[in-house]
């Protein structure tokens, strides 16, 4: 793709945002806004709250880009961490917990759009990897990440001791990391 040559990396975009480059912020949104909103919506189950969460997270990104350290995390990881935390904080505040969420099936995306295609392939890889996790590891991870439950709430909901929940989440994330690498997630 000839566009690739001039396409800035996600990390370069964050660096540009640190220099108050509004276009770079817009481009980060074009790349990750849809994922961010999808995530916030899944957690909050409310369009207005999801918009607030994404907007506030991007404002944190705008303000905090100077403290981003590329050696610590990919830019997308760093960015989505803000979005997730904001959404979880909001859902807890709103006391609007969802009952057992499930990982959704892929829905149609804008055909032909590069970003949508990249997102779709990542989506499929991650969903596939999640399905290969043992249920006892997948459940607490999904309930924590998509429903905003705390570890104590997870222990109660799943009827397991807190220590068991902790070790299953830890083991599950380690396993997920390996599964993602095997499935070529990094290069997707």
């Amino acid at each position: 793709m000839s566009r690739e040559a001039e396409r800035r990396t996600d990390e370069e975009l964050v660096e540009a945002v640190a220099r108050a480059d509004e276009d770079a912020l817009g481009e980060l949104y074009d790349r990750f806004g849809r994922v961010a909103y999808g995530l916030a919506y899944k957690i909050l189950q409310d369009a207005a709250l999801a918009e607030d969460a994404v907007q506030e997270a991007f404002l944190q990104i705008w303000r905090g880009a100077g403290s981003y350290r590329p050696e610590r995390a990919k830019a997308s990881t760093w960015l989505l961490t803000f979005v997730h935390r904001r959404a979880v904080d909001l859902v807890r505040r709103e006391q609007k917990r969802r009952t057992l969420p499930v990982v959704g099936e892929p829905e149609g995306s804008d055909p032909g759009a590069d970003e949508a295609a990249v997102t779709r392939s990542r989506t499929e890889i991650v969903q596939g990897a999640l399905r290969r996790l043992p249920a006892e590891q997948r459940e607490p991870i999904e309930l924590a990440y998509y429903a905003g439950l705390t570890q104590s709430e997870l222990a109660e909901r799943l009827g397991q001791p807190l220590g068991t929940i902790k070790s299953r989440m830890f083991a599950g994330l380690q396993r997920l990391r390996v599964l993602l690498a095997e499935a070529g997630y990094e290069s997707a």
């Binding site: 849809r34 999808g38 403290s67 991650v126 994330l173």
Partner: protein, 231 residues
């Protein structure tokens, strides 16, 4: 400390800690290289989960709202407050300035935020923090206060700080372990400025401000221009 903070790693990465647990872990994190490394490894699969969420497409206006929001808040930038009259009493009518006054006098001000409640901008930062039962600490080396809410969210209120030269920026740092963590860039300028810190401030940490090249630095360049101790 009754629990080993290390077993909070996965829950922290998944945002599955409650506020107290999170605060405890974040206080521990800067001192623990192993945690930092482990956390970096866990963060990648956690962030990947976002791609499996697949919610609806965001409304078109959201992009514009985000850009407008950033434009209106040129970052920790500094929201220029109305220039303060020397006689502090003269500014009490302006809500933001009133917060400034309350802090200057060390008074806990509870009810000044009503008119600005709905405002999203950092203009109401000080009021928001005060509403969260914040403590205020005087700055050492500059005129103003560090305001820290119970949950560690914090802001700086600085008055009479000269604007940073064009190739430079002020940078705030939270220092609670060996490694100072950047907590935002700002430019300063005439009047009073409110700076929302991008990092929580644990109890017994210090917040320090240095002058850095534009874009900020990854570790502070001495000297420290001004500082405050959180308690």
């Amino acid at each position: 400390m009754s629990h080993d903070p290390h077993d909070l790693l996965a829950a922290y990465a998944l945002d599955a800690l409650d506020d107290d647990e999170r605060e405890r872990f974040e206080r521990h994190l800067p001192d623990c290289e192993e945690c930092t490394e482990q956390l970096a490894l866990l963060r990648e699969p956690v962030a990947a989960l976002a791609f499996a969420a697949e919610g609806p497409v965001p409304p078109k206006e959201l992009r514009e709202r985000i850009i407008d929001g950033a434009r209106a808040d040129p970052r920790a930038t500094v929201i220029k407050l109305p220039r303060r009259n020397r006689a502090l009493g003269a500014v009490a009518a302006v809500a933001v300035a009133a917060a400034c006054l309350a802090i200057g006098l060390g008074i806990y001000a509870h009810s000044l935020s009503n008119s600005l409640d709905r405002e999203r901008s950092a203009t109401s930062l000080v009021e928001k923090l005060l509403a969260e039962n914040a403590t205020t600490r005087p700055l050492i080396g500059a005129n103003g206060s560090l305001i820290v809410a119970e949950n560690g969210r914090a802001g700086l209120l600085v008055c009479g700080l000269a604007g940073a030269p064009s190739s430079k920026t002020y940078e705030a740092w939270v220092i609670s372990g060996k490694t100072p963590v950047s907590a935002g860039l700002f430019r300063g300028g005439s009047g009073c400025s409110q700076i929302a810190l991008t990092q929580r401030v644990p109890k017994s940490a210090m917040v320090a401000v240095t002058l850095e090249r534009a874009g900020g630095a990854t570790s502070p360049t001495l000297p420290i221009l001004f500082r405050a101790e959180a308690t």
